[in-house]
């Protein structure tokens, strides 16, 4: 979904919420609508984390079956629908990687290429409020902290793997993450 005016965004959000509610009521047409509205985005997440097209499609399939089963537990007062869906996709893709021990498949630039995950200036300008704040706060962190957080989140790396990949002692990586997360929380405001 491209960025649009905030009116269009809240309309999309309402559409998505009502589609999730429809799916929660057991109507497959609701899930189909959720799929049409979000499959490109969720597939992008699976593809990025699995780094394998076929596997990403298998994971995406599981994601929508999970959405179908969990739709009734979705609470739009606690999370935006797209964040809720994106996290289900992210976690499913990370689980797949762990089960497959696919860490060797991660390109070497995983740590070095973190800049690739950095948003374009446009995205920063047009992104919704939450995303903009998160990106600004991440940017404020020392680069090794934000880099470790991004790698852990976007690639599903564990402490051990982060340490190996960055050739850094485990304790150092842990303190990067913990300090980074603490500062991130402060920057974003508690809650």
């Amino acid at each position: 979904m491209h960025e649009a005016s905030s009116a269009a965004r809240s309309e999309n959000r309402a559409l998505l919420v009502s589609a999730i509610h429809l799916a929660a009521s057991g109507d497959a047409a609701g899930l189909r609508r959720v799929y049409d509205l979000t499959s490109a985005k969720l597939f992008g997440i699976c593809l990025r984390i699995c780094a394998d097209r076929e596997a990403a499609e298998d994971v995406l399939q599981d994601v929508y079956v999970k959405v179908w089963r969990r739709a009734a537990s979705f609470d739009d007062t606690r999370a935006s629908p797209i964040s809720w869906l994106a996290m289900i996709a992210r976690n499913a893709a990370v689980d797949w990687r762990r089960a497959e021990h696919r860490y060797d498949a991660i390109p070497d630039e995983a740590m070095a290429g973190i800049a690739d995950d950095a948003p374009l200036a446009d995205a920063l300008m047009e992104g919704d409020q939450e995303r903009r704040r998160l990106l600004v706060c991440l940017e404020d962190l020392p680069s090794e902290q934000s880099g470790a957080i991004r790698s852990a989140f976007l690639q599903g790396l564990t402490y051990q793997q982060l340490a190996e990949r960055s050739d850094t002692p485990l304790g150092t990586v842990k303190s990067w993450i913990r300090r980074g997360m603490l500062r991130l929380k402060d920057c974003l405001g508690h809650g």
Binding site: Y35, A40, L60, S83, Y159, R178
Partner: protein, 228 residues
């Protein structure tokens, strides 16, 4: 080892759990805490919510249609309907294959004799890509039967499958047509779809696997339904 579960480190543990940094016993401990301590579980969820917008920065991708087909099968939905994107491509193709778009002349005929009362009847003239290919189809809503003219055989083992595309844009198969034409009964579930402004289309499909859930290629003929 790490002092994960101790009180001062709860906050860090929640973040680590949300990020998926932990393994083995540390992870198991964190998950147990999630179950026994709702406040901690909310904290983990809070981290997920905070970080989720980062996923917005990843470029989207287009999954193949097998994904939805498999999802639909697993949730017990009717088998596959084409994804919107594929459908858009299909319709765009149909509209740009020049002859079709240009030749979309509808023709309306009066119902021949008999009707005791005014009974609506749907008619469509389908215009094809080939030269001077025209096919008239009429529909008798009382009997639920389509009457189709004869057409040429392509001779590649494929046969013409007739589709109705209602306002939602999703093609539904009405079944394979015989080359010699004639009466074609319509499944009662499909009858309400045969309404004014719905589009009829014909694609060439493998008759041995018909009816299909979605067209496999561009239509060779399309036309709109008019009620007369």
């Amino acid at each position: 080892m790490v002092d994960t579960a101790e009180e001062p480190n709860r906050g860090a543990l929640a973040a680590e759990l949300a990020l998926g940094l932990l393994e083995g016993e540390e992870r198991a401990q964190g998950l147990r805490l999630c179950i026994s301590n709702p406040a901690f579980a909310r904290e983990v969820e809070g981290w997920s919510t905070r970080l989720a917008p980062l996923l917005d920065t990843l470029p989207p991708g287009l999954p193949s249609s097998r994904v939805w087909n498999a999802v639909a099968a697993r949730i017990g939905d009717k088998p596959e309907r084409p994804s919107l994107n594929r459908l858009r491509a299909w319709r765009a193709g149909a509209l740009t294959s020049g002859a079709i778009a240009a030749g979309l002349a509808l023709f309306i005929v009066s119902r021949p004799i008999e009707p005791p009362a005014r009974i609506p009847m749907a008619v469509s003239q389908l215009t094809g890509t080939g030269e001077a290919q025209v096919l008239a189809i009429s529909y008798d809503p009382q009997k639920g039967v389509l009457r189709v003219g004869a057409q040429k055989t392509p001779g590649d083992g494929k046969g013409p499958e007739l589709w109705v595309i209602p306002q939602d844009g999703v093609p539904r198969s009405l079944g394979m047509m015989t080359h010699e034409g004639g009466a074609m009964p319509v499944d009662p579930a499909m009858r309400p779809l045969l309404a004014a402004d719905a589009t009829l289309a014909i694609t060439m499909e493998d008759p041995t696997t018909a009816p299909h859930a979605a067209p496999s290629g561009l239509p060779v003929m399309t036309g709109k339904i008019s009620i007369i």
